[in-house]
Amino acid sequence: MASKGDPVYQIFSFHDCKTSPDPIFDLPAQCQTPVPAPVPIVIDNGSFQTRAGWAAPAAEFESPRLLFRSVAARSRGAARSETQIGNDIPNLEPLRWLLKSQFDRNVVVNFEIQELIFDYVFTHLGITSEGSVAHPIVLTEAPCNPLHCRQMMSELLFECYRVPYVSYGVDSLYSFYHNNAQRNLQPPHTGIVLSSGYHCSHILPVINGRLDAVNCKRVNVAGSQAASYLQRLLQLKYPGHLAAITLSRVEELLHEHSYTAVDYQEELEKWRSPEFYEREVHRMQLPFSGKVPGGCVSVEERHERRAQQLRRLQEINARRREEKLLQDQERLDRLMAVQELLEDGLLDQFHKSLVELNMDSAEELQSYINKLQLAVEQGRQRLLLSDGAEGKAEVSELEQPMDEGDGVALMDPDFPEDTLPEKPANVVQPVFNLAEYHQLFVGTERLRCPEILFQPSPTGEDQMGLMETLQFVLARYTPEQQEALVSNVFLTGGNMQYPGMKERVEKELLAMRPFQSHFKVTMASRPALDAWYGARDWALEHLPTEGGAVAEGWISRQDYEEKGGEYLSEHCASNVFIPIKIAKPVPARPTEPSVAPLTSNGASAAVTTVT
């Protein structure tokens, strides 16, 4: 087919950004004075990124001071002390196996690492006060956070850091209120929040300013699942570049080269055509590695090598056996000759030869002869058997499947046949394009990975996708409530930043809603950061007052001690609190080691004995 002019190839390279360490900020002057009220610290504790900053009205505090990945690199043993957190790690990839996060899915479970993260945050914000952090803390938590986790978090904040007040809220709801305020909608707000983070995506209906937690739903597909799916797809397509396809590069691919199709089936049909493929495929140029193709050992090659080694061993053994047989035979002949001497009656010679052979009597000679005869017999039999077996083994080894192919493997069926293959098979190609060998062709993967949010089935998840869950949630309301909810559909979260996401949600909503009904979909202005901004706005509006009435939404030290760590003070952006008391596992104080085992046993028995 004639191509008009030069084909335009989109070749990109990986940025592989390195983070630089955060500076330790000075404590701002207005944050030092506890009068009129201490300035709250707002921490958006996300499973991907932690954002922290002050909640002060001045312009310099408008954006979060700290933004870092919520990971700590801890190695074992002697190097345990050199823990690096967040932006102290310039490149995550060399330390990938040491990285630990305090999160399990979107819930904090490891409070040691959470303590490290808090230390990092407070140190870098410039706090040097002795014995306590004298600022109220606004912290985000997961929707319907388990009580145990909240208890542990409250314990950490109140007992370790001696914080005066703590407020917990859901990050997507903070984002919702921030954007509603920006659009000048009057509270109380009603709407439905679709939030997609790093580990989970949520559907949160908000009615009259409060989260309707009974009807919330969570889909366990989000950014990290898309990243690992894309990584596996590329690694299976390019087994030679297994090590070069790192999670950081894959995340870069998702952030910069992926998009959501408005109509998935239609978009896939477009990708069938070779011209579209050529234009739209993103060729990611990997750095030159010097590794020749064919260096990768496939399973068949390993089998072949093992079979060869076995054959060699067998040959050696057979040769050794033959030699031993010959030796035995010779010795037997000599002994037989000596025995004949005896029979012939040449006693002197017989005795002389016995002495040479180091034997004492004729009986010993006889026994030696018998033993040797047995050995020779066995050796001969084994030779016969092994000859037969070797013949069979050789035949079976030849039959071993060695389907290496012709050396030309078509990468993509849509690719026209006259172009060079991007991935040569294990047999080395004599002439091929070195640059193309080091390119990753990211075609339909750009489309498939964000799609798993709507159709989780390619990854094996059998949960409903985001829009199907939305339909399920809406069906639990009356039609009037549905109208109210759907008139303010709000998209937020880092995973919602693919181009085309808003149009896709609008199109699917149009398909679900009754004919000619109205709905409105808005995307957050800064989907990843808006949770922090919303929490800051909330904190500025609801400052806890000193002494006396505490503003709604804050948990004071007294509340913590009276009502337990799992207590939550509800507010417009928080979870719903179900007052169930859970027993607190008693920590073993270092001063009373004898008492601790008893009390901890009692506490654990009270909690439960679930196997």
Binding site: K217, R218, P587
Partner: protein
């Protein structure tokens, strides 16, 4: 790069005497680290693998950042021994030095309870609490399995797949894809099936 930020970096915080610090032992302390001494030479030697900030411009910034970055109380005797070669190890001042997490079982629980509960265990414990029927909690709000039949997509190209290879059970859309599938080594085939969670069909 850090010099562009017009923020004054503090001098290393005044450290209490090392002897007094080592008296405040925290066996459960998560980060055990010793701050480097003020002199630069042993700084770069010791901290080269730990701190990537060696590339920064000013030496003062290096010492300041490194001194405060991970500074904790010295917990175990081993790290106390190594800390003697370096200088003071100081916990951040805003913490309670005798705090211990209750969730980890405490030192008295012995070797058994050293790990944190993971989410599955926490949820199992939560299930046993006296929830009422409609109360929302973490596992209640999990989305249901899908009610719609799944669409089949090709494992190789992602286009809608109408055919399945009986030998490898991979899905494909065209004959070129089929020939490509037939040339794949077995580990790649297993990889594609594992991606779809379709391996090991129990007969």
């Amino acid at each position: 790069m850090a010099s562009q930020i017009p923020i004054t970096v503090r001098a290393p915080p005044a450290a209490a005497s090392s002897a007094a610090l080592r008296g405040k032992k925290r066996p459960g302390s998560p980060a055990v680290c010793a701050a480097p001494p003020a002199n630069g030479s042993s700084n770069s030697g010791k901290k080269k693998k730990g701190q990537p900030t060696a590339t920064q411009t000013t030496q003062a910034q290096i010492t300041a950042v490194e001194a405060v970055a991970e500074v904790k109380a010295v917990g175990t005797a081993d790290s106390a021994a190594t800390a003697t070669t370096e200088s003071t190890a100081k916990p951040p001042p805003f913490k309670d030095p005798t705090f211990m997490h209750s969730g980890i079982g405490g030192a008295a629980a012995g070797k058994k309870n050293r790990t944190w509960k993971n989410l599955k265990q926490i949820l199992a414990l939560e299930r046993t609490l006296p929830w009422k029927l409609n109360d929302p909690n973490y596992y209640n709000i999990d989305a249901l399995p899908s009610l719609k039949p799944t669409k089949k997509y090709s494992d190789i190209s992602g286009l809608p797949a109408n055919y399945t290879d009986p030998q490898t059970k991979l899905r494909f859309t065209s004959s070129e894809e089929f020939s490509y599938i037939r040339l794949l080594p077995t580990d790649v085939v297993t990889g594609y099936l594992a991606l779809r969670k379709a391996t090991c069909i129990v007969p």
